[in-house]
Structure formats: C-alpha cells, structure tokens
Symmetry: C2
Subunit: 349 residues, 2 copies
C-alpha cells in the first residue's frame, strides 16, 4: 500500500523528536531519509531510522549534538560532528563547503566524530541546489577486501556527485567502491536468494554465492579489483586520515556495534562554484551538448533509452510524490516496531 | 637488452628539441614519458613519442606553445594550453594548482587547448612531491560505451591521485574509467591474443573477444557499468565542460586524427595542501596506521603480500634505475624509426 511522502516525513520527524532531537535536526534527518526513499534507494532511507534512534537512545549518537567548525582556512574546514546523527553533521559540513566555495571557487570540508550518513548523494545534491558541483564521500566500518586479502580491510566507502542541470534535476551518481553495496547482499539474504559470484569472498578468500555468510564469514569484493581498492583508499584519506575520524577497523559498525559507543565515522565534502569559473549559461549550454551526445548515442538492441546518472532515481521520486511511496514490507514492519518502542500513534495508514 | 634510463631521457630530449621544443619543455616531456616507462606503464611512455613528434611537425601540437592562465580566482584557475604537448600544458597547470593550494588549502585548475597528457599520475605525483595530495584527470576522444549504447560515447577518461608517504614513495593510483585501457586491447591485438569477454562490445552491442575490431568496429565497456560511466561523466565535466576544452566526440584522437589539427583535450588538476589542514607528523602517523592495517590484513591463499596502490610501479622504477629498462621491441623499433625520421644518431645501444 502506498504511503504519502508527507505522512512518512511527519512520522520520521515525530519519531526523531521523541528520541530527543530538536525540530530542525529532526527535519534535516527526515528530509534526507525520505528523499532517499523517494529515489527508490530503500537500503539507505527510512529502513535505518529505527537503528539510528536506537543509537540515539543508547547514547552512541548524541541527540543534542552541535556540530561546529574545528579548524578552517580560506578554502577548507574540518568539522567536529559532536557525535551527531550523520545527516545533521553531514548537512552542516556540506553547507560550510558551499559557503566557502562561494568565496574561493572550490572548498574541501572534512568531518570527524560523525555517524553513518546514509546516501552520500543527499549532500552532493545540496550543492547542486545552489548551482554548484557537489562531491560527498565517507568511510565506514570494514566490509570490503583488498586485492590479496581474505578479510575486510576497507569500508564500502561511497562516493557521490551532483551536477546542476538548468530546468531539470541534477545529474547524480552515488556508488559504493565495493562491487555491490552490502545492502544488496543483506537484501538477497533476506529473500533467501543466491548472489552472483564476484560479489563476495568467504573466510578462505574463495568466491561464494551465499549471501547469508555476510558479514561474519564473508567480505565484499572491491569494484573492479585494484580500481575500487585505490578509490576507496583516497576516500579513506580525505574522509578520515585527514579529518581526525576513526580509520578503517577503528570505525564502529553503526548497525552491529555497541549502540552506546560513538562510531566516529568520517566524511568529506567538496563544492565547486561553477558560476565563479564559467558564466552559467555557457556552462549549461556545454553541459547540454554533452547530454545530447549521451541521449542520442546509437543504442544496443533491447535498449530503449540511455539514462543520465540519477535520472531513474528522479523519475522514481516524481512517481512517489504523485502516487505515494511503495515501501518494502520489512521497512513498514521496522517503522511499526519503532512506533511501538516510542509509544507513537501509528499514522502511516 | 636493457637501456640506461639516462640514455633514454637524453634521446627523448634530443628528439623533442629537434622537433622544435625548447630545452625546458623537451626536458619536462622527456621526464614524464621516461618516468612512466620506469613505472612499467609502457602504454603511456616513450611508445607515444613518435606520434607526439609527428603532431608537432605537422602543426597539430604547437612546439613553441606558451601555456598561460586564462582566468583565475583564489582557489581556481583555467589554463589555456596554447596547443602545447600535453606534458608541458599539464605540468604547468598542476604547478598552478600547487601554488594556489599553498594559499588556500585546496585548488582546482582546469586546462583546455591541450593534447593527450600520457599517464595522469605523472601530474598527481608533482603535488605529492610538494607534500600535497594531487588529483589529475583528463577527457579523451570517445572509445567507451555507456550503459545501453553500442558505440563509443565517452573517452576512457583516466583519473589518478598521489598521496605523499614520509620516507617512502607516494601512494599512486592511475586508472581508466573503462574496464581496461585501450592500450591493453591494442597490445593484445599486436600479439594476436584473444581478450576476455567484458572488455569490448562489437558494432551490434554484443561482447567480443577479438581485439582487432577495436577501435573501428568495437568499443570499450565502462568500468563496472554505470559506476565507470558516472565517474567518466564527472571527469568530462571537470576536464572539459567547465574548462572550455572539446567535449566528448569533439575531441580529436591524438593518434588517429588529422595531425595538422589540434585535439583540444581538456584536463583537471586538484591539489590539497595537507600541512595547511593537519600538522604533517600527525597526518603521516595516521596514514601509517592505515598502511599497517592494509599490509597486515589476513591474506588469501597464494598471496604473499598486499601492495599499496603504485607500490609495484615504484619497485619497477627502482629496478629500472639500477639495472636499466627493458623496453618492448615494438617501442625500440618506434624510437629507432623516429631517430631516422629526425636524422638523429641512434644512441640507445
């Protein structure tokens, strides 16, 4: 049954306020999670609300946190997330990057003392909404092998970007640097499906198609081998080594780790002010030329249309806003359990 | 037979000067190409010298070019490469990024009116040599399909980075955003070897293992499908759409295109001044902690050692400097032909 997007947002705000967040932080978090669900990316949306709230109630996420600038220069800043929920700390950090880029053309903002930030492109998209190219990335608790290892060494360290397109939605990419995101393996395990060889290796380093082994007895493989490994290590450097966040195995799992202990995730945000560098109509004309080349490329048999990065997700969002959101039953169940835990009225239908 | 690295450098400088470059530009170019060969990356080293010099002699590369800043702000600049050989224009651009990052913490420098720049990590490494994180990327003439297309739409748009490591060589990654670089397909064709399915699709969009079809009747696949496509489009944006360079199919092939016509490749360079953001010993200690986690990860059967990105290449360079460089015979032959074309004495052995 379809849920109205505004109803889902209200439920999230109510739940987060009941857990101790103020109105503004509850809205920021709810917007991030519901936006992600409307894109159809259910692994990173309200599915995780119950887990985040568990951490808030146990103390591993500070509900009253006040993220702030720790140190800064002309075109950079390091933000102390103060143990905030990842959406609040990350939104704060990207907004600092946007303000600084307005002065200098490009800015880098690193974040420590944060938690899992959900979908990276939520923050990249904040920059695109201000006419800038946004780039967002994060480290995470290790779930991915490196070439030659048989256990997880790096997180699935996602990277995302957004490029504003005049009169349309932003071009938006958000990818894990593992072959697939862990969420897809969990989903296969939940549905008792086999997974393709190449996604996971087992404890002995051999490929396995059994998703139930993950994460205790299997680890994700890096995207394209040494390529994903290399990109993940750059993300670890910009998100954690250079920011003061926990590095690699020192990052606690936000979902499996002790909910009383902060995870100390790190993240990095880059904003590039297009208008400072090239007059906007010229940039948009040149971008449109690239888009036309993509859309008009000769298609392979069976392909009706070539999509821009993020285009399917924006169409899913439009559909969700018009006809409501079809959340998977396990997410509805999780939200229902959360309502009971917080003694909230169940308002979703 | 092994060639002394210094002899190879001298030969390149002599050849480039004979083609009309001044001493400084000839040295810059020779250093880039020979450094690449010493890393063992022969697809992007002196193999291409003859082709670059052909372009210089025909006018498609300006031997007397003077790259210069076209426009700039606090933390960014756009460079007009003036049609220079890619190594000269790109070295100039990265050096501007390094100078600006020293003032602001991070800088973005875009380059237009350049040519093929060889191995991206040559320029990323310039930043690492000054204690900065360097990122370098470029667009190129289309050789790579996007999901759903059956012809090339984007270039193999490489991206590279370098991170300085105290007391050791920089961590260095340099990857094409195609499944494999075109050079590997050409190498397989030259040796009449089949290639794995997944590297190429033919004119009808079907996988092929025949490297001889490339590039006229086959196109490279993007790395990890939509992931490589998405990253390549960001690289196109930062290297070309935002810099004024030719976009996608408007980039001429440096090797197959009319050598009289400039290719107008674009590129982008980012430098991040580590020391401005975190005191260097602290950063290096934290980086070492990450390196230790990588090196000490439990290994898969048959794996003796876990390598850092670039580590194999640096070891190849050390070996080359000590015992000389073993260049593939087709590269020796190409350099020999070049010597004849320029009426140079053959000094390599």
């Amino acid at each position: 049954m379809a849920i109205q997007v505004s109803d889902l947002s209200s439920f999230c705000v109510t739940a987060l306020k009941a857990a101790g967040l103020n109105e503004r932080d509850a809205r920021t978090t709810a917007e991030a999670l519901v936006l992600t669900d409307t894109w159809g990316v259910h692994t990173h949306g309200t599915k995780n609300l119950r887990g985040y709230i568990r951490r808030i109630r146990e103390g591993g996420i500070h509900g009253k946190a006040q993220p702030h600038v720790d140190s800064e220069g002309l075109a950079w800043a390091i933000i102390d997330g103060d143990g905030a929920i990842g959406m609040v700390a990350s939104g704060f950090a990207m907004n600092v990057a946007i303000e600084k880029a307005r002065q200098t053309g490009i800015a880098y903002v690193g974040l420590h003392n944060s938690c899992h930030f959900g979908a990276a492109c939520v923050y990249a998209n904040l920059a695109a909404a201000r006419g800038m190219i946004g780039i967002a990335m994060s480290n995470d608790t290790p779930t991915v092998a490196v070439p030659g290892s048989r256990q997880a060494v790096l997180g699935s360290n996602p990277i995302s970007y957004a490029i504003p397109v005049e009169g349309s939605n932003a071009i938006l990419l958000d990818i894990a640097t593992s072959t697939v995101a862990g969420g897809k393996v969990f989903a296969a395990a939940a549905h008792q499906q086999k997974i393709p060889e190449g996604w996971l290796i087992d404890d002995l380093g051999a490929p396995t198609s059994n998703p139930a082994l993950f994460p205790d007895h299997a680890t994700l493989t890096p995207m394209s081998g040494h390529k994903g490994y290399g990109i993940a290590l750059l993300i670890e450097t910009l998100s954690a080594i250079l920011t003061g966040a926990a590095v690699m195995k020192n990052v606690l799992s936000w979902s499996f780790g002790d909910p009383k202990v902060p995870t100390n995730h790190g993240a990095a945000f880059i904003a590039i002010d297009i208008g400072a560098i090239m007059v906007s109509p010229l940039f948009q004309g040149r971008l449109q030329e690239a888009i036309d080349q993509l859309r008009n490329a000769p298609r392979a048999p069976g392909c009706d249309r070539i999509y821009l990065p993020g285009e399917k997700e924006w169409e899913h969002r439009k559909e969700s806003l018009t006809h409501g959101l079809e959340l998977p039953p396990e997410i509805i169940a999780s939200l229902h359990d959360l309502a009971k835990e917080l003694s909230l009225k169940w308002t979703l239908y």
